[in-house]
């Protein structure tokens, strides 16, 4: 579905991504694991053309999408849920959700279909349905995250890019968000590329993962193998901190 080959991305002179190659299969949940500044968010932003790559290839559904603009990337079926939700706080929940279908309105799609999809989103997040008239800024952190995901889903993505969906949420809400992520894959077969500081939670729902360090991939394994990997445990799962073997 998504195939990334040797992408290099710079922030000014800073070489943020160094020949990153990765793939996400149809209906697959893939996690990107790594410390702050390793390049996880940059990968998502590069795929969604917010920070386009200097070189390399990004294929989606067989087509090369390197040169697309951010809205072009959304049109071809990739939606991003940005870090920190970035919802439109002064707007109502309902308006926020509808804005997610902006490009579909533009393309002249029938209102009826879009309304139908809105109901599907509300079915996925019953809490939002109760607050559909409420201003988005008044929602709790968890609800805002649900709203951000719901908004992304309105573009009918085949691939969802999720940036730190668990950030700042209580454990119960984190569980709820990840329940929905699994539900999405089960119901609609959506592929998901997930960036998450909370590696343990991410690896529990993911099929596979990539471990990043300073803009490079250093490990590609199944999620269960990554959970069992001592290096990953030490660095990202908060285990086994101090003991480092002397060579």
């Amino acid at each position: 579905m998504l195939k990334v080959k040797n992408i290099n991305t710079y922030y000014g002179k800073l070489h943020a991504l160094k020949n990153i190659s990765l793939h996400v299969g149809a209906g697959e949940i893939v996690a990107l694991i790594g410390a702050n500044g390793a390049g996880k968010t940059t990968i998502l932003n590069t795929i969604s053309a917010v920070t386009p790559p200097v070189n390399g290839e990004i294929h989606f559904g067989g087509a090369l999408i390197n040169d697309l603009s951010p809205d072009g990337v959304v049109r071809c079926g990739i939606s991003q849920v940005p870090e920190g939700r970035q919802i439109f706080k002064p707007f109502s929940v309902d308006d926020n959700i509808e804005l997610g279908a902006f490009l579909r309105f533009r393309a002249g799609e029938k209102r009826k279909e879009i309304t139908q999809d809105k109901e599907t989103v509300y079915a996925l997040f019953p809490q939002l349905q109760e607050r559909r008239k409420q201003l988005a800024g008044t929602l709790s952190g968890g609800e805002q995250q649900m709203l951000a995901i719901g908004r992304a889903l309105m573009a009918k993505p085949k691939l969802l890019l999720l940036d730190e969906p668990a950030m700042g949420l209580s454990p119960i809400l984190v569980q709820e968000i990840f329940r929905v992520i699994e539900e999405l894959r089960r119901q609609q077969g959506t592929s998901i590329l997930l960036v998450e500081q909370n590696a343990r939670v991410a690896l529990k729902v993911a099929d596979r993962g990539y471990v990043l360090e300073t803009g490079k991939v250093i490990l590609e394994e199944t999620a269960s193998e990554l959970l069992a990997n001592k290096d990953v445990q030490r660095a990202y799962l908060g285990k086994d901190k101090k003991e480092i073997w002397e060579r």
């Binding site: 195939k3 080959k5 040797n6 160094k18 020949n19 190659s21 990765l22 793939h23 990539y210 471990v211 360090e213 803009g215 490079k216 991939v217 250093i218 490990l219 590609e220 394994e221 193998e225 069992a228 990997n229 001592k230 290096d231 003991e243 480092i244 073997w245 060579r247």
Partner: protein
């Protein structure tokens, strides 16, 4: 027949190549970060591992040799702290300083899965009773097959080596259906059964997986008829993982290399350059998933060639032919690389069994000469001069077509050739003396 891990074993080539690239990049970055030897190697070769953009770029990286592993004895090549290693094995080499290899828990899991692929391809199922006659020790063979068989759900009988009569008794009484052994030991078993008056056809045995030494076609035929089983070949070495690198499927037309875990290359043993696709040369392997003991461009010393044609079994993984010998045995005559095992195969095919023979290389003036001496035995010795001449000419013609250079074939008296083990010492190169 069943395929153990169809998602990978039958992966479309394009997807497989993407996966190989991803894993190669990660392996190089990890080896650079965690193994002093590799960091130095990359620095010396002026290579930045993160710059690797495609699989063909691999050819620019220096080789890792057995000597490198010996120099880093025992733990210098490990990429993880020892406390993360759950197992060490060592290579079965005969030299004083052997090679120590390590496995993390994930490595053991991956290894198990790879051997399960080999065994499933050979026809082993959960209904089998698998008798493992390899040594359970530092050597990787027994444990690899043990794990693979258990993963499939078969029942393992870990007899280990030796005590042939007890092995046979167990084989009869426990109703062994699958035998894991060296080809030589399978023949020993067959011979002993004959002596004891046991008819192998009365046993439950149906498949055999052979390793530890190459399974020649002649040996395969002999084992299959004498033990009444299907015999498959597989390939592996401790430095890479043990058994589970490659294995034959039911079509027995080469061993599928598990390319999601290893990248194979064939190089000219002298120049180190990659040979054209399909040509013979030394097998070089790079591991893609190993955590504790990653190997980058490891020179196996084994001479083989790769087969790229699709296989009827449905696996998309390329195949390697039987190893034709060790790169150390190779000699060059008239600019052509010749392996003693090529000559052995030709002779065995003509005579019907492996004769005692000696290869003599000499130089007259600027010309290289190749002679093959064969001990006369019944069947190749003729009273009639004409017949004898015709026979020798036929052997010479066959040899020329296989090795590419002319060889003079001579018959010598019985018991005049020193008895060698395998192909070592088969060649007398007078050019060097």
């Amino acid at each position: 027949m069943k395929i153990w891990d169809a998602k990978y074993e039958c992966m479309p080539r394009e997807e497989l190549e993407q996966l190989q690239l991803e894993r190669l990049q990660a392996t190089l970055n990890r080896a650079y970060k965690n193994v002093t030897f590799y960091r130095k190697m990359f620095h010396q070769a002026d290579i930045i591992p993160e710059n690797m953009q495609n699989l063909s770029g691999l050819a620019k990286i220096p080789f890792t040799t057995k000597e490198d592993l010996r120099m880093n004895y025992p733990y210098g090549m490990f990429a993880v702290p020892l406390r993360e290693v759950v197992r060490v094995h060592s290579s079965s080499g005969t030299t004083e300083k052997h090679v120590v290899v390590g496995y993390t828990r994930n490595d053991i899991k991956a290894w198990t899965n790879l051997v399960a692929r080999v065994m499933t391809a050979a026809g082993v199922t959960r209904d089998d009773m698998v008798q493992i006659t390899f040594s359970y020790g530092l050597y990787t063979g027994a444990f690899g097959f043990h794990y693979g068989a258990e993963a499939i759900g078969a029942s393992v009988i870990p007899t280990g080596t030796g005590n042939t009569e007890k092995q046979i008794m167990i084989m009869q009484d426990y109703k062994t259906t699958a035998l894991v052994s060296t080809p030589t030991y399978a023949i020993t078993l067959a011979e002993r059964m004959e002596k004891l008056g046991i008819n192998p056809k009365g046993l439950s045995l149906r498949v055999g997986l052979f390793g530890g030494e190459p399974l020649s076609e002649a040996m395969r035929g002999e084992i299959e008829t004498r033990l009444d089983i299907t015999a498959t070949d597989n390939y592996g070495l401790s430095e890479i993982i043990g058994p589970g690198v490659a294995g034959e499927c039911e079509y027995k037309c080469g061993m599928h290399i598990f390319e999601d875990a290893f990248i194979p290359e064939i190089v000219n043993p002298l120049t180190g350059e990659q040979v054209p696709a399909g040509s013979a040369g030394e097998l070089v392997l790079t591991t893609l998933t190993k955590e504790a003991f990653p190997m980058i461009r490891y020179r196996t010393g084994d001479i083989t060639s790769l087969v790229y044609a699709p296989c009827e079994c449905g696996r998309t993984m390329i195949r390697m032919n039987k190893t034709m010998g060790r790169s150390d045995d190779m000699f060059i005559i008239k600019g052509v690389n010749v392996y003693p095992s090529q000559i052995k195969t030709v002779l065995a095919a003509i005579v019907g069994m492996e004769p005692h023979y000696q290869i003599v290389v000499d130089r007259k003036g600027a010309r290289d000469l190749l002679e093959v001496h064969i001990e006369a035995v019944e069947g190749i010795f003729f009273d009639e001069m004409k017949k004898q001449k015709a026979f020798l000419e036929m052997v010479e013609k066959k040899l020329r077509s296989v090795i590419g250079v002319g060889a003079a074939v001579k018959l010598v008296a019985p018991n005049t050739i020193f008895r060698h083990e395998g192909t070592t010492g088969r060649v007398i190169d007078k050019r060097k003396i």
